[in-house]
Chain length 347, copies 4
């Protein structure tokens, strides 16, 4: 049994890790830290876990995280980078669900997250947690910076088109028009995500620039092997879970004869958590609710030169905690789907 | 034109006052205070008011509230009682939408609101702002403690049964099972009313005891002329606006031959904002969305001894700001419906 | 492996059976009938099942239901009673999720469901599918009429108070004020449950009388061993899944010294799917979303003579398909929780 | 007083016309037809209109529409074209909210709406009902084909960029990624827009091609004076009212030095129902809920060559019935804003 510690168990990615690990046959949560809630049973805060999760919150001091096999950071940005080194030195693997180890360029991190990076030397070592792109590196890694929720959906949607330097689409004019449920904003007391504010309402935000933009461009450029430019526009939609990314790509003259449906199907044929839908489909976010699957549809209206890729995922599962468990499975030689064979909840 | 000041314009009852007064032919908002947002245009915070409300937030010092004809307090509990005396002494009428002047018993106030009452002498003078009960007193008043949202719906639903010492129902076993949209909790950053928490979810709260219980019992007892006991159970429902109260009353032997439908219709025949629906109806909260109307249906299943009264209102209008404007109209000799002739928004 | 047939796989209880049975270690769905959709893969209609459910809809003729071990009817009322006899005679066990075998009195059935009962002789044999009440009878049964969604919640909430002729509460003045999400209305094209109609809205319905009233009273009377009277008022709340029942009971003089919390905890201590919350709790419907658990809290405000029991369940799981799987497990000697060890989805 | 008839008062655009006209000082609804509901008071079907709209549904025969000054068709596609000629010949002006008179090319109409056009000669006469583009033509018209909901938002968002042959943006690669609330689908009993299906869910639809595509391209080409190509991708978002269009346009070398904010502000300065937000804004659909206003924000991330225009409107008001009232006002010489001075409902 993998001994798991979780730093920050009071947010949505934390409780989602607990939900998934409660059903994992090869892992056991031995510690969940929260300085503020130390002593309280986790299931007292989240009654959905009653009878399934017996652990209590503990202080970081009491948690003995260095005795774990792996520690997940389900924390605000900046926490993992302060604690990762000590854990790694104790032989503990580290999976950060926040942004501390996503961006390779510390200056970029500082620009977008408004804090200095405190362990830049680890940035080079950290592996980007997106298994469909980095599976082998993840297996060998001891430090993972998990892909963000939006970036996961956008990269999966463009992966077959860009990888290996393919020249099927114009790589400088990509657009990702993305829509997220409010759980993506986290379990923070904020006016903007109150039901009375965000309910029955739709809006774009951060059109000027969003933290996930550099992450997406970094990821796509790595996939492509050359710089890729993408305009990312996030929107808030009045639902709890789910991301829907609508991606627009101009097909190049070289790409015009491509069978894009076949390309996507072939690329993801062996992937346990990516499902390419039949021609003409429109994936719904609820079709992946609670599960680690991303579903993708590819459209080319009028057989023209605009390719439209639709991607849905559950932002808290494939976009965060589920993908983190998938990564843990890879790091520890478990079956990749262990703990993740959940049928989506519909309706 | 009535010169209106609003203390606390950043919450839902404040912005709702602004919406309603923007369309009021005989009133003009001259000051809206917010120490924190002083200088900002109100319409910058609430773009729905762009082009309709031109006033900016001002500090209490700059607001010159003593030059207003009337000041509304759309503030947390405790603010109005600190400022009312000065305004009254300057000849300004005061309408408090919070709880400061609702309960006649200062000890009760202290028990439920966890603060001492700072001007108990004004409690006796304050008139309870529920026009269907207190119209004449309101006309003559200079200080109003507006009825709460739940209490308005429950008192309207029981008024015809209790007033004047009627003995149609058992007055000691009343039950009000009430359901509210989340705007009733106000525009405060709180985890419990996030869309990701309160959406797609239903729960009761404060079953042990809720602040509105003493207010309801005080009001019903005043209406009845004798002590009335009611069990009040509030629930949070995943919608923005609206209260639905389901009220259960045991019919007494004396009441058994009553035509309750006729009783309700007769009682509210002249009321501009209470609508008794035909026999067999089920009022929907959306049928009053955005309007000052309460709709009521009366049921007696199987012609038995249990009477069920269903009441819907928009908690921000008839349950708060709309009723406050109605009260202002009465105090200043305006037509009672001025500014309130709004057709509900459906769907 | 239990060979399972499902009649009516296109509604919510059908797709929920498929979700649950997809994860059941000891059962296999071999046929799903739908005359209209015959030939279509189930996962084509419900993409949430892609990769998890490979079966296609078949006509009743092709389905060879008589070769199944058990057949679930997830159909409109009236279908199961037309087909049950043939299946039973072929040795197939039958579990009806509709109302055909709930009411013992055929005249009552006819009154509430507006159709004649076509196999009244089977009514006597049919066992009521509520394991917490009827576990032994279920184990021995070959024909089950599953408890309805509302009735399950109300009976669980009153079971400890009524069973064995207990005289703790007044059995003639019970009230159940129940609130349901819209999936309870089924997957039928109807104006009343459109998002644009039922969203951001709250209403009561069927206050005059609802089909679940006679079922609840029949069940409670059987539990109590004497006639019980209950007023049932259902409400529609703008969420997808979940029922919240708020039950009001007058405590008798004999009941006054009862420790109700202890009574409930003791009664449900061994039940795998009933969770009694700590004193003072308010169960939320989302705390059971997607799971077969019902959670209950018991309140006695002011230590008075009114007992308030709060019960939440997922109407599609404990209120329908999950409970049906639980019943199947009992009938076939499987562990009662097989296929049902799902952690609720929160948020 | 303008005497108004409404054909088809049972759908959302019909009830919205009734809401708006109930508050119109210069118009009076004299007939609302519905063959199915003839005799029933409109307010019986829509209790929100109780006390405000006294008219009953009548059969087309009894409605005496030829005695009206204007008749609105709030009907399915195909109804208006069958009845328009008779009304026009009787001197009645006709405003069709459906698609019968939107497309100038009858073959296009037939292709997208799967029915033959029965009065193609009137197509040439019909004026497209989009006042910001066609105000003078509308004033002089007797037959209007109202702009669709999506097309209104997209055309307003591109109007300042395209009109008069401006060459600021590439007119062949425009993209409109649009999101609509479910009321846009109408008040029809359909599975896809049930709360249990469309709630807590997000999806694209009709990516292959949507009826509004030819309308948008026809409108933009007319505005521009040359062919414009636009890819239109509609999405369904779990809210009741509101459209949010996110429009992407490549800036041409000629356009690079344009002050787009100033361009938009200048263009719409005199428009009573178009509000250009300050630089950096993100319009929310709720900021126009229930009102006839469209709000627009213009973004140019990184001062690059991609222009992003965000447009919100209430699909039932500016996208349908409100704009139709605006058009009626123009046709009859009323103030353009008569009946439309509604403050949006927020929250």
């Amino acid at each position: 049994m993998i001994k798991v510690g979780i730093v920050g168990g009071t947010g949505y990615t934390g409780v989602e890790l607990l939900r998934l690990l409660a059903g994992h046959p090869g892992a056991e949560v031995v510690a969940v830290t929260s300085r503020k809630e130390a002593g309280m049973k986790v299931a007292e805060m989240f009654p959905s876990l009653r009878g399934r999760v017996d652990v209590a919150f503990s202080t970081p001091e009491d948690a003995k995280l260095t005795e774990c096999d792996v520690v997940f950071f389900a924390t605000p940005h900046g926490v993992a980078m302060a604690q990762a080194r000590e854990l790694l030195e104790a032989g503990v693997k580290v999976i950060d669900l926040a942004a501390d180890f996503r961006l390779k360029d510390a200056a970029e991190f500082q620009k977008w997250y408004a804090m200095e990076h405190s362990c830049t030397d680890l940035l080079a070592e950290a592996v980007y947690g997106l298994p469909e792109v980095n599976r082998d590196a993840i297996k060998a890694a001891r430090l993972i910076g998990m892909a963000g929720c939006y970036p996961t959906s956008v990269q999966l949607g463009l992966l077959p088109l860009l990888e290996g330097g393919k020249r099927l689409i114009d790589t400088q004019t990509l657009i990702a028009d993305c829509k997220s449920g409010v759980s993506g904003a986290g379990r923070k007391a904020e006016v903007g995500t109150l039901l009375a504010e965000a309910g029955d309402n739709f809006k774009a935000y951060a059109v000027k620039g969003h933290r996930h933009s550099p992450e997406i461009e970094q990821g796509l450029s790595a996939i492509h092997g050359a710089p890729v430019r993408l305009t990312f526009v996030p929107h808030l939609t009045p639902m709890i879970r789910g991301i829907h990314s609508t991606i627009y790509a101009r097909i190049t003259p070289e790409g015009r004869d491509t069978d894009f449906q076949a390309l996507f199907e072939a690329r993801f044929a062996g992937e346990p958590f990516v499902d390419v839908l039949p021609v003409g489909s429109h994936p719904e976010t609820r079709s992946v609710r609670g599960s680690n699957t991303a579903r993708i549809a590819v459209h080319r209206p009028g057989n023209g030169d605009l390719l439209i890729v639709l991607v849905v995922e559950d932002n808290l599962v494939k976009g965060a905690s589920g993908q983190a468990v998938q990564v843990m499975n890879l790091m520890f030689g478990q079956p990749e789907t262990a703990g993740l064979d959940i049928v989506p909840l519909l309706p």
